[in-house]
Amino acid sequence: MNKIDEFTPGISAKVALARAVGSLSSRLGYGGTTLPGRIIRFFDGDISQRLISRISQGCILVSATNGKTTTSSIIDSILKENGAQVARNREGANLAAGVATALLKNASSGGRPAADIGLFEVDEAVFPELASQLDPRAVLLINLFRDQLDRYGELEHIAEMWRAAVQRLGRAVLIINADDPLVAGMAKLRPEASLCFGIEDAAAGGLVMQHASDSKYCTVCGHSFEYEVFFMGHLGKYHCPNCGNRRPSPAVSAENVRLDGMRGSSFDLVTPRWRQTIRISLPGLYNVYNALGAAACGYSLDVAPEQIKSGLERFSAAFGRVERLRIGGKTVCLLLVKNPAGFNEVVRTLLIEPGRKNLLLALNDRIADGRDISWIWDVDLEALGDKKVSATCTGTRAAEMAMRLKYAGLDASRLRVRPDLSAALKVAMAHTRDGETLYVLPTYTAMLAIRRIIHKHFQPEDEMADLVWR
C-alpha cells in the first residue's frame, strides 16, 4: 500500500490551514517558526511522525547544551554539498512544534515532503520524546553543561533521560562526544551502532579545570575522575582510577589543532578511512567540537571526504552564534553567551586577540535566557581583569553584570551601566575607536533584540544572514 493512503482524509485541509496561519503570522511580523506546528499538532498529534515516514532518508537529531544550532548548520552545509534536499528547523525553534513547523513548511499541501532528509536541532529536554517519535537514522549528542537549571532541573536528570532515550533508539547511528563523560558512556548502550568523536591533541587543552566544570565524578561508580588534559569545562581525556571507566577512543578525531582567535581554526580531521586538513572560519575550540560532530555525522552517512571538507569550510555562521558586521569604520561581532562553559570559551578566544577589547555585555533574565543569572559568577572573568578592557553592561540585569566585572578586577572607570539596549549600543559604539571591533556578548533574548536594533538604527554594510567569516 502506498504510504500516502495512510493519511487520514482531511490532512490536506489541516496542512493548508496551518501553512496559511504561518504565512500570515510571518507577514504580520510575529515570525512563523512554531505557530503552524502548534496548530497542526492540535488537530493531529502524530503529524511529525507521518511526515517523517515519507522522507526517503529519515531524519537526523542533534542535541547539546552548547552548539546545537551551529553544528546543525554545518551538517546542513555538508548535506547540501552532497546534493541533498534538507528539511530543517530554524532559529532555535527546537521544541516539538518547531520540528512540526519545519516539516509542514517543507511539505506540499497534500502532505508530500520535498526533502530527502530531515535535520533537527532539539532541545535537551525534548530530545527523548522526539527520538522515540521520529525514529531518526542518526542521533548526534554533543555535550551537556549546566544551563538554565531553573527550567530543567538538574544536569544528572537530563543525562538520565538521555540514557533512557538512547536505550529505546531504533535504527539510529548514535554519534557521541567521547570527551564529555556525561554523554560518552551512552556509546556503550549500543556498541554496534555508535561512533565517537573527540580531540586528540593534548596541546589544545590545559591541565587545570575551569571553575564551571560540571562532571568531575565517574558516571559509573562516583569516584573522582582523573584527567590527563582538560579541553573545555569537564570535557577532556579522563579515566576513573577506581572502576576503570574511561574515555572511549574516538573514531573521528581532530589532531594538530591551531586556534587563530576570532579568525578561526584549523585541524587535521582523522577518520578510520582518511585524513585531511580543515580550516574553519569560526573561532574557538568549541567550534572545533561543532565541526567535528558535524563531520562525524557526515562520515556516518557515507558522505564523501571532499564533500565533508567543503561543507565544513563553506558554511556561514549560524543565527547569531557568531556574526560580524561592518558599521562605518568599525566592526561589530556578536557572540552569544548563555552559560558558563560557552562564556569561558568566548573569553578565551577574545584573549588571543591583540589590543584593546571593547565589550558590550547584555544580560537578560527572561525565561529563554534562564531567570537565574547566578551562572555569570561561575565564568572565569578574572582572566579579563588585568587586560585593556572597556565594558558597557546592558539588559535587565546590567548592574549585576557590571558588578561581576568589578569583582573580577575591572576598574570602575572602565565600566558603564546602561540597562536600555539601544542606549547601551550607542554608548558602546561611541567608545569604540575607528578600526576597532566592538564585541557584543548577549544572552539569547538580548541577542534577538540587539539584532533588531542594529538593523533599524545602524545600517550594517553586510547582510546579516549570509555573513561568512573571513
Binding site: R146, L149, D150, G153, E154, L155, E156, H211, K216, Y217, G222, P340, D365, R371, D372, I373, S374, W375, I376, W377, D378, T396, R397, A398, A399, E400, A402, M403, R404, K406, Y407, A408, A412, L415, V417, P419
Partner: protein
C-alpha cells in the same frame, strides 16, 4: 588584620555559582587592606578549627550532597564547636540542609545532619524556584535580602530556631510559614542563591565583621566601600518581584 576562610567542599558544593560568595568576601577584605586567605577542604580533609574565623558551604546536587553528608559526620563536631566559639559561617541551600538535624528524602531515606542548626528538612513535592526578597534584621539593622531560590527540600525550624528573615516575595524555608533561612550566633543558613553576597553587601560585611571579632576579641569596624553597583544590582533583583 587577617581573616582565614575555610571553604568546605568547594568542588562538590557549587551548583549555582555559590563560589561567587567567596569572590565577594575576598575582594571586600582586600579593598580594606585585610589580609584574607581561603583554604579549601574536600572530603577526608579537616581544617584545624581554631585557625579559621569563617566557614563556608555552598549548595549541591543530590548525589554530591550524599557524599558530603557522609564526610560531614567526621567534621560536624569540630564545626559546631567553632560556631559555639563565635566563628562565622555561611551555608547555602544544600549546605544549609546538611547542617540541620536531618534531611528526609522523597524515598523515605534519612540523611543525618550535623545538628548545628535547629531545623530539619523533608523532601517536597515540587521545586520551589524563583526570585526571593526577604526582610531581615542583623545587629539591630533592618535590611532587605534579595536572591534566587531553587530547591525541593522544605526546611522547618524547631523550638528556639531563629529565622534569618521573613519572606516578602518567594517561598523561603518551606513555602508555608513565611520564614527564610536561620541564624544562630554568627552562623547563617539560607536558601538564597544568586549568589547571595554580591547583591547583599550588608550581609557580606556583617559576616566579615563577625569573623574579625572572633579573631581579635573585640567588635571590628569596617571601612565603608563604594557600593553603588551592588545597590543597583540589588534593586534590579528586587524589581523582578514587583510586576
Amino acid at each position: 588584620m587577617k581573616l582565614r576562610i575555610a571553604h568546605l567542599y568547594p568542588e562538590l558544593m557549587n551548583i549555582y555559582a555559590d563560589r561567587g560568595n567567596i569572590i565577594v568576601l575576598v575582594n571586600r577584605c582586600r579593598w580594606r587592606g585585610i589580609d584574607v586567605r581561603v583554604d579549601e577542604f574536600g572530603p577526608g580533609k579537616s581544617p584545624a578549627w581554631d585557625d579559621y574565623d569563617f566557614f563556608y558551604l555552598g549548595g549541591g546536587q543530590d548525589r554530591e550532597q550524599k557524599l558530603v553528608a557522609r564526610d560531614l559526620a567526621a567534621k560536624g563536631a569540630g564545626l559546631a564547636e567553632a560556631v559555639e566559639q563565635g566563628a562565622a559561617l555561611l551555608a547555602i541551600c544544600g549546605g544549609y540542609q546538611l547542617l540541620g538535624q536531618y534531611y528526609r528524602t522523597g524515598a523515605g531515606e534519612t540523611m543525618e545532619g550535623v545538628g548545628l542548626f535547629k531545623a530539619y528538612t523533608v523532601a517536597g513535592q515540587r521545586r520551589l524556584i524563583g526570585n526571593v526578597v526577604a526582610r531581615s534584621s542583623l545587629d539591630g539593622n533592618n535590611l532587605e535580602l534579595a536572591g534566587f531560590e531553587n530547591h525541593s527540600g522544605k526546611t522547618f525550624l524547631t523550638a528556639g530556631g531563629q529565622p534569618l528573615g521573613r519572606i516578602i516575595f518567594g517561598f523561603g524555608n518551606n513555602a508555608e510559614d513565611g520564614t527564610e533561612g536561620i541564624i544562630y550566633k554568627s552562623a547563617v543558613g539560607t536558601y538564597l542563591h544568586g549568589p547571595l553576597l554580591p547583591k547583599n553587601p550588608e550581609l557580606a560585611d556583617f559576616l566579615i565583621s563577625r569573623s574579625l571579632s572572633r579573631r581579635y576579641g573585640q567588635e571590628a569596624v569596617l571601612a565603608p566601600l563604594d557600593d553603588n553597583l551592588e545597590e543597583a544590582a540589588h534593586q534590579a533583583a528586587v524589581k523582578k518581584t514587583r510586576r
